[in-house]
């Protein structure tokens, strides 16, 4: 639950009183032109950027704007970055092991890692250094890292950027399979076909404000949304 969030860099407002409620069990897509503030929104939710005003409530008790990144992660929030962020000096397996988080006992890790490896299809590459993976494999590895902690809130920033069509379809299937009653998923994406395939609802951001919220079909028919996207 994001409530009246405002973020400023100097005098520029990257987010201007944005509110957004994502329910458990839902896949929400946030779309919008470049510079709309999508990544900034995730930065605030994951604790990297502090807002000028507003709150981000996880459940009804935890205000994430008051917590450090590590505390937010331990509360069950995981985020995949726009630029694939894996640890290049560690192998795929070691990356996933760190992804399990500090709380998971060492005994439980191998099984968790094996199941994530199956989901992301990197089974044959477990002992490869992440730094030498191809772009698409890095994207999946990072998705695997954030999955390994079984997050309650999953934030994905452009998970199919730079992927081929078949890889995109594969990722869409993976994200749909991740939907669970006790998990909320927030996906940022430019690829409309992909958004249509995965999202229950979409939020359109433009210049730091919410332009539209509702179904993807509704967004396609909304005059202001069309203007913003065609005007690019």
């Amino acid at each position: 639950m994001v409530d009246a969030l405002t973020v400023a860099f100097g005098r520029f407002k990257a987010l201007d009183s944005v509110s957004l409620a994502v329910d458990s069990g839902e896949v929400r897509a946030v779309i919008g032109p470049n510079g709309a503030g999508k990544t900034t929104l995730l930065d605030v939710i994951s604790g990297i950027t502090k807002p000028v005003s507003g709150r981000v409530m996880l459940g009804d008790r935890i205000d994430l704007t008051q917590r450090s990144e590590a505390e937010i992660a331990r509360a069950g929030v995981r985020r995949k970055f726009q630029k694939p962020s894996v640890f290049p000096a560690l192998t795929v397996r070691e990356n996933l092991e760190i992804g399990c988080g500090p709380a998971l006992p060492a005994r439980a890790r191998p099984a968790r890692i094996a199941s994530v490896l199956g989901e992301i299809g990197l089974g044959p590459r477990t002992e490869v250094l992440a730094g030498s993976l191809a772009h698409g494999e890095k994207q999946w590895l990072e998705i695997g890292m954030v999955l390994a902690a079984e997050p309650a809130l999953l934030l994905l920033d452009e998970p199919v950027a730079g992927l081929s069509d078949s890889e995109t379809a594969h990722t869409a299937a993976l994200i749909r399979a991740l939907r669970r009653p006790d998990r909320a998923i927030l996906v940022i994406e430019h690829d409309m076909g992909f958004v249509e395939a995965i999202a229950d609802r979409v939020t359109v951001l433009h210049e730091g404000r919410t332009l539209y919220e509702g179904s993807m079909a509704g967004a396609r028919g909304d005059a202001r949304v069309i203007e913003v996207f065609l005007g690019r």
């Binding site: 970055f81 640890f87 560690l90």
Partner: protein
């Protein structure tokens, strides 16, 4: 395939440890143990033995810096501070031990017109207490400085500059004569070590053997640490600290722990160094000495433990030899060496040897 290899070699990950087997470190540990064994049976010229011991102390210091710089990405330009803490406390022990045994006050105490050692020296004639004090003091200073820096997210160049400022401030402080630590002349004239006359062949050999064994232990210990889960977190933190934090790890705690460990290892090097050279003065706190430690590590090869040892021994060995032969040329030779390594061997001298873990990278990329 070849594309993947290209990325592996070009990746910013830097030289990372791979596998638990590390022939370079294992070889160096073996060499230290062998040298120590040889010294116990044969007796080479004392000045050579002494030089070897000093080199071993510098190598320990270099490893302590490599631990934080190569594996955690924290470049300290103030590690001379921790080395000096070990050295000063060791010097205090040696003098207090001398007073307790012979009753003669050290020169600088007489010079200040004092009738006895300053009150806070009490107990320092006990070696075990001095050792614990030196390590605790280095750890404490590192903890306070590290906590302040890491909590407020001071990183990169800013951290390096502040660490340099810290060692400079410490130097100014130690130049004062009223601190009870020898002022600008420092402390020297240590009469005894564990009751044995300083400078006797047995003491010289003993100190060198102690330094070699400590180096072997430090190398083996740090290597185990790097290969552990904590070591993997260190590499993760070095390459992408924000990513690690957003996976639920407190990087402040990780960095602080390793930083304090590194400071204590540097103090250990200082403890071993001072009785070998017989003097400590505020010069060890000079900013250029702290920078030089980073130069040793960079020349040998950052992030490979063994590289730090090789760099420290090579640079200081050259320095011993040349600063006797042609002292005025030394700064130029050092600068030339630095330029050569930076331009030709960006990963340090280990590039020359095929020992760098590149082969495992290739295997990994396949």
């Amino acid at each position: 395939m070849s594309g993947a290899v290209q990325t592996a070699l070009a990746s910013p990950a830097g030289p990372a440890r791979r596998a638990v087997r590390d022939p370079l470190v294992a070889g160096l540990v073996g060499l230290c143990l062998a040298a120590a064994a040889v010294l116990l049976v044969a007796s080479p010229a004392p000045y050579l033995v002494n030089a070897l011991g000093q080199l071993a102390a510098f190598a320990i210091l270099a490893v302590s810096l490599d631990l934080v710089w190569g594996y955690l990405g924290i470049l300290s330009l103030g590690h001379g501070l921790f080395f000096a803490i070990g050295g000063y406390v060791c010097a205090m022990h040696l003098l207090a031990h001398g007073v307790a045994t012979t009753g003669v006050l050290p020169d600088f105490v007489q010079f200040m017109g004092w009738k006895s050692l300053p009150a806070y020296w009490v107990g320092l004639d006990h070696a075990a207490y001095a050792l614990v004090l030196a390590l605790a003091l280095a750890g404490l200073v590192a903890f306070v400085f590290g906590l302040a820096s890491f909590r407020s997210r001071v990183n990169g160049v800013y951290f390096s500059i502040i660490s340099q400022a810290l060692v400079y401030v410490a130097m100014l402080l130690m130049y004062r004569n009223d601190t009870g630590l020898g002022g600008n002349n420092g402390m020297t004239g240590f009469p005894l070590l564990f009751g044995w006359p300083m400078g006797s062949p047995g003491v010289v050999t003993g100190l060198t053997v102690a330094a070699l064994l400590t180096l072997a232990a430090v190398l083996a210990g740090t290597r185990l640490l790097i290969g552990s889960a904590a070591g993997r977190r260190m590499l993760a933190c070095r390459d992408d600290e924000t990513r690690l934090r957003t996976l639920g790890y407190s990087t402040t705690r990780l960095k602080l722990g390793i930083w304090c460990l590194s400071a204590m290892i540097a103090a250990l090097a200082g403890i071993l160094y001072v009785p070998q050279v017989g003097i400590i003065n505020p010069r060890v706190l000079a900013p250029d000495l702290s920078i030089e430690i980073a130069v040793w590590v960079a020349i040998g090869g950052l992030g490979r433990l063994g590289g730090a040892v090789i760099g420290a021994i090579l640079v200081n060995g050259l320095k011993f030899w040349l600063s006797a032969a042609m002292p005025e040329a030394w700064p130029f030779i050092l600068s030339g060496l630095v330029l050569f390594v930076v331009l030709v061997l960006p990963n340090g001298l280990l590039d020359l040897v095929a020992l760098r873990p590149r082969s495992t990278w290739l295997r990994g990329a396949r």
